[in-house]
């Protein structure tokens, strides 16, 4: 990949980002162990004692959702930490270094994207597996669909990166890239509550706007619900969040490449 993957790993190690991931993982592991060793009293007079493992089983494995949130958090962390990648690459004096090489601009951007996906993807999977192993030993639950959980989180990483890459190329600033990702994140929360909003505000125009936005913007919230379902082996009825979000990311990447190819540096 023309050295971009290796460079992304070098950059990741150089920024000591890895420690941040380590800290988050240690906290997660510690929390799992503490919760896992807790005893809970049940029954009318508190005469029955349960351990965390039994409760988890009775409640239908909520630990899976906790674990899924942990992996999603690693994804968000990655998005924030890498939001500056493109703007920093394209500052005056450095853009020239990349653009003067015998590679197309499209290849530069896609290789960089791939580099981040590999470098941070590996980190997410490693931290995730440490968390999963802890969960397995503490709660003795094995999740058959754990591979889907990682896969869908990597897809979600790609979706968020398409947004920060777009903002990085179009607006050229790290803070704008973070703000853009934040706005999309906020919008998809609003969209999750679209049925509620439609019920409260009776406006045809608003309803149409919400529906259109729901299909245009990525729905990472719905996507994470889908992820948990898929991981726990439940049947997924509606794949729309995956398709629309992935479609959004691919189209946004194409738009980003078109803009990048037309720009003067």
């Amino acid at each position: 990949m023309r050295g971009f993957t290796r460079d992304s790993i070098v950059q990741l190690l150089d920024r000591k980002t890895i420690w941040l991931f380590a800290v988050v993982t240690v906290i997660m592991v510690a929390a799992l162990i503490v919760v896992g060793n807790a005893r809970f009293q049940g029954g009318p007079h508190g005469e029955i004692e349960f351990d965390a493992r039994e409760i988890n089983e009775m409640l239908g494995n909520p630990m899976l959702s906790v674990f899924s949130s942990f992996v999603s958090f690693l994804v968000i962390l990655t998005v924030l930490l890498t939001a500056g990648t493109i703007p920093v690459m394209l500052v005056p004096g450095r853009a020239e270094f990349y653009l003067s090489k015998p590679i197309s601009r499209t290849a530069i951007l896609l290789n960089r994207l791939w580099g981040i996906m590999v470098a941070y993807g590996l980190l997410i999977v490693i931290c995730g597996l440490i968390g999963y192993a802890t969960m397995y030993f503490v709660f003795s639950v094995s999740v058959s669909g754990i591979i889907y959980l990682f896969l869908l989180n990597l897809i979600s990483l790609f979706i968020w990166l398409s947004i920060t890459f777009f903002a990085g190329v179009a607006l050229g600033s790290t803070s704008m890239a973070i703000v853009t990702a934040g706005l999309v994140w906020f919008a998809q929360w609003v969209l999750q509550a679209r049925e509620l909003i439609k019920g409260v505000v009776d406006s045809r125009a608003l309803e149409i706007t919400l529906n259109v936005m729901y299909f245009v913007l990525p729905n990472t919230g719905d996507l994470s619900d889908l992820t948990v379902k898929l991981a726990s082996g439940a049947r997924v009825a509606d794949w729309a969040p995956l398709y629309t979000s992935l479609g959004f990311a691919i189209i946004l990447m194409i738009v980003t490449l078109v803009i990048f190819n037309r720009k003067n540096y």
Binding site: P92, P102, N264
Partner: protein, 310 residues
Amino acid sequence: MNVVVTEDLTKIYNAGMKKGGITALDGLSLAIGQPEIFGLLGPNGAGKTTLLKVLLGITRISAGSATIVGLPPDNPASRRKVGYLPENHRFPPHLSGLGLLEFTGRLYGLRRNVIDSRAGSLLDMVDMDKWANTKITKYSKGMQQRIGLAQAMMSDPEILFLDEPTDGVDPVGKTEIRKVLQKIRDEGKSILLNSHLLSEVESVADRVGILSRGKLIKTGSVDELTSRESQFEIEAEFGNKLFEIPAEVGKKISLSMNRLIVELKDEKQVNWIIDHLRLKKINIRAVKPIKISLEQSFIETVTEREVDQS
């Protein structure tokens, strides 16, 4: 074959804007052969950096055409045999000197063993092997320029684009960089050297172009640009003998301390002067064409043009 050819190359920044944009290059035609060091001189804002960026496809052409090794800049393959040291460069800060060379090699698609051997010999050439594993951000300006030169040489280029390579470097560093440029020239590479520092260009360039407001207004060898047309200085033992020059030959500019300065209609008329000096039994010690510094030539060319325009 010419490595770089431009024809009526024009670049207008922000052409879509209401004010009409900034014309940075204005119908520039240029050919650089191999091997030669072509010095592009011009005041700040003349368009030197823009020319390099346009040739490398970093900035898009507005009109006209350009080719490098026969390929247009929008073809990435045109950059395969080109090296570039940007002005005010900021290489990726997480890299060491060696790391920069290795990453550069990979960006050029070179194989591992080629990268290793080339990085080694280039570090040696620019005298940076001791600092190979130190981060670039810790380098002095002179060291940064040297590692920048090594980086530009990674592709074993046929042509090297150097944008103000000695800018901001102290005199010792400048001498070191000049030494490296000589070595590169000795290897038979072509160099397009941008500078607003005339002395820099004068000392290394085979051919010089003067760029002003996006137009190439003069090109020629350093000799051609600096020799004052048909002016000669003649040292001879005039004593108190008179020496007149007829108008059809030229005119006397000054005569003092046995030193005669003449401007001739034609260079060959210098023979007439010598003949007549000998006829008058005046002893000749030296006859030499008058040269002006490149700086003077440059200033004259640029100001002449500005007077023309106003």
